[in-house]
């Protein structure tokens, strides 16, 4: 115990800060979720699980949960494809690949507010450059952010464009950890590029991909800014994911307790999903 004293003393400040900055608000949220508070900080009474029942009976909450599922899965697929493609290209030897290691990061560096404005401008039907360019070749882009059928997917593309560089860097780093002699051995054994990638490279970087997928999914689930800045959850709730639902409930409808209850339920869903992923999707140690 004595030999760990220094370690504990160094960790304690961080633990205290985390307890105050995360633990207390979390406990407060749970407490508020059992009240009937409307405006944050307003008067309220203890109502038990009444607020939870109201949320669970609200079809908008379940619709938002479904949209969040779509949001996470499609973001994961699109970003993984983009990031893998970019990372493999970055491994090339040319000068452009070296320079691309810098500029491929640009979308990630741009603040979210700028990203959303840029894309809204580019896709605007009056003065959007993409809208105009596609129109010149006879393609009518329509209304990507105001058509309920495509609005969510349009924002997913914007969000993926914004965040794929981060995944690119991680995957690029993971690919760099694959020993050259292992790849060489596979080639000597007659494996082509595709076989080498799927039989050697992918299993070796699987643990990193799993961690990236897990953290990225949780991160992606909680995205509020991109969606809110572009559509505020519209049109007709077509882009209302769970974070937007919670935000609108708290700061649009001013129902703090319902927002807190929805948050608690969401945490439970996320923890369950994360545990299932760890239990069933975690790569084997010997892989």
């Amino acid at each position: 115990m004595k030999k760990h004293l220094l370690g504990f003393s160094l960790v304690t400040p961080v633990m205290v800060i985390m307890l105050v900055a995360i633990g207390l608000p979390l406990i407060n949220s749970v407490w508020i979720s059992f009240q009937d508070q409307r405006v944050i900080g307003g008067e309220s009474e203890f109502v038990g699980f009444e607020t939870y029942v109201r949320i669970l009976l609200d079809s908008s909450f379940w619709s938002a949960l479904g949209r969040s599922g779509t949001w996470v899965v499609v973001n994961l697929i699109v970003q993984t494809l983009l990031a893998f493609s970019a990372a493999l290209l970055l491994q090339s030897k040319g000068w452009w690949a070296k320079s691309a290691r810098v500029w491929v990061m640009l979308p990630w560096v741009i603040p979210t507010i700028s990203v959303t404005i840029i894309w809204q401008w580019m896709l605007n039907s009056n003065y959007g450059v993409i809208h105009w360019a596609l129109g010149e070749v006879g393609i009518d882009l329509g209304s990507p952010f105001s058509d309920p059928g495509v609005a969510l997917f349009s924002i997913i593309l914007v969000n993926s464009w914004h965040w794929f560089p981060l995944a690119t860097v991680v995957i690029y780093g993971a690919l760099a950890t694959v020993p050259e002699e292992t790849l060489e051995a596979a080639r000597i054994d007659g494996a082509n590029n595709r076989q080498t990638f799927f039989a050697v490279t992918l299993p070796l970087i699987n643990p990193i991909l799993f961690a990236l997928g897990l953290v990225g999914s949780l991160w992606s689930f909680n995205v509020l800014d991109s969606i809110y800045l572009i559509t505020e959850g519209g049109p007709v709730e077509a882009t209302t994911t769970v974070p937007v639902y919670i935000y609108n409930t708290a700061f649009g409808a001013f129902r703090s307790s319902e927002a807190a209850a929805a948050s608690v339920l969401t945490v439970l869903v996320l923890v369950t999903v994360a545990m299932l992923m760890v239990r069933f999707a975690r790569p084997k140690e010997d892989s």
């Binding site: 009056n126 105001s146 058509d147 572009i230 049109p235």
Partner: protein, 445 residues
């Protein structure tokens, strides 16, 4: 090895102790400086506003400097906030007791702030300013409940119909005065690549505002019963939603995601012939459209053919006093009195010429205000906005109402959602309005 580890530990501890001592030694002097600085900060009146464009921030910063140079007991300091986050910020400030001394507000937001338990009546100050300058009744009405006034009116905003005169002349269309004329004009002016009108239909306040102007001229401005219950599901509201939906058919295809900026950009770049908005359209017109000032036309909000009356949404922007300290509240009152002096008031309004309208009929105010180049360039439109200021209204505050929970409705953009259901989902106006009625009842429960 053991010795080395012990020695390293000793060096580490000595280092930490040494650094702590340095920090402590430094902090004594710093603490004194901080106390002085804190005292200075405490003496200043903190004013939160949400007008965050650079020219507005700069102009009001200059106003603060000007006032502070007069040596008041309480200097003022403007701090910029965001409309998108102010609801959360002020709630957090209320919880922690760190609210600003003064908070700029619009009527529905003011009800929200009051529901947080913040704010003091400023009836005496407002009465005094009214006696001295003649405040427009509409500017005070939305902040008055049971004889108490809860904010000091500072500037107004009102909407008009803006149009490109060249386009209307080329199409042989007169400025529309009625709903049927507006619809016919929008249809006639819609040609290849040009929309007859650009309207917002996103889930946002911009859509609420433009639609509400037309609701007012369609006799659908009052959404509540006398006892404050939701009364949204009326024939007049259904007509107004139907009409707005009809107009949207001649608005750009992506109007369903439009807010304030897009219709203005469409009008200025020639891809739309008309738009309904406030006076912020004046300053950039020439630079962005490449046309002359005379090519920007303006007209009152068209009126419903049967049963309509003149009107427009009117926002009285005002300052709430939140300080719990009586002497600081007196300091705020002193600042407002200084601010409403003609020379100071015109500088204050010139932060956004055309958008910020005077809330008084004081000739000296108007005269000083008109010295601004933008205001002087568009005298007819300015006169029109001043005229509409006297007949304007706002949801929750028409016909002498004061709906203390209107913020719960406007915060959810229920009107914009009703519009979206009709425009985007193709739902019948009757059904969309019935949904809106239910939402409003839920909001008020």
């Amino acid at each position: 090895m053991k010795f080395k580890r012990g020695k390293s530990l000793a060096v580490l501890i000595a280092g930490v102790v040494g650094l702590s001592a340095c920090a402590a030694g430094g902090s004594t002097e710093t603490a004194e400086t901080d106390d002085t600085a804190q005292a200075e900060i405490n003496e200043s009146l903190t004013i939160w506003h949400m007008e965050n464009t650079p020219q507005r921030v700069a102009a009001w910063g200059a106003i603060a400097d000007e006032y502070n140079s007069t040596g008041p007991e309480y200097p003022v300091e403007f701090q910029v906030q965001e409309w998108d986050s102010i609801y959360a910020s002020i709630a957090a400030a209320a919880q922690s007791g760190t609210q600003p001394d003064v908070l700029f507000a619009i009527p529905d937001f003011a009800t929200y702030v009051r529901n947080l338990g913040l704010g003091y009546p400023v009836t005496e100050t407002v009465d005094s300013l009214d006696s001295a300058h003649g405040l427009y009744p509409a500017s005070m009405a939305a902040y008055t409940e049971d004889g108490d006034v809860w904010a000091v009116p500072l500037y107004g905003m009102v909407q008009v119909l803006w149009y490109n005169t060249q386009m209307l002349e080329a199409a042989g269309v007169e400025a529309p005065a009625t709903w049927s004329e507006l619809l016919a004009a929008a249809e006639t002016l819609t040609v290849d690549g040009v929309s007859g009108i650009a309207l917002p239909a996103g889930k946002n306040l911009a859509s609420d505002q433009v639609a509400y102007s037309l609701m007012l001229t369609g006799g659908a401005g009052n959404w509540f019963t006398e006892d404050g219950q939701a009364n949204f599901n009326t024939a007049e509201v259904v007509d107004a939603i139907d009409f707005y939906n009809d107009l949207l058919q001649f608005s750009p295809a992506d109007s369903g995601n439009y807010a304030w900026g897009e219709p203005q950009a469409a009008l200025n770049n020639g891809s739309a012939a008309m738009a309904i908005e406030k006076g912020q359209y004046l300053p950039p017109w020439v630079a962005e459209s490449g046309l002359e000032p005379g090519d920007l036309g303006c007209a009152p909000i068209p009126v419903k053919d049967n049963g309509g009356e003149a009107g427009s949404i009117y926002y009285s922007n005002a300052a709430m006093v939140l300080s719990d300290d009586e002497s600081r509240r007196a300091g705020a009152s002193e600042f407002f009195t200084w601010l409403m002096e003609p020379a100071n008031y015109s500088s204050f309004l010139h932060a956004e010429p055309g958008l910020f309208l005077p809330v008084t009929g004081n000739d000296a105010h108007i005269e000083e205000w008109r010295t601004n180049e933008t205001i002087a360039t568009y005298p007819e439109c300015v006169d029109l906005m001043l005229e509409l200021s006297t007949v304007g209204g706002l949801f929750g505050f028409v016909d002498g109402q004061y709906i203390s929970r209107i913020g719960d409705i406007s915060g959810q953009n229920i009107l914009a959602q009703v519009i979206q259901r009709a425009y985007i989902e193709g739902e019948a106006a009757e059904s969309a309005v019935a949904w809106g009625q239910q939402e409003m009842e839920d909001a008020l429960r």
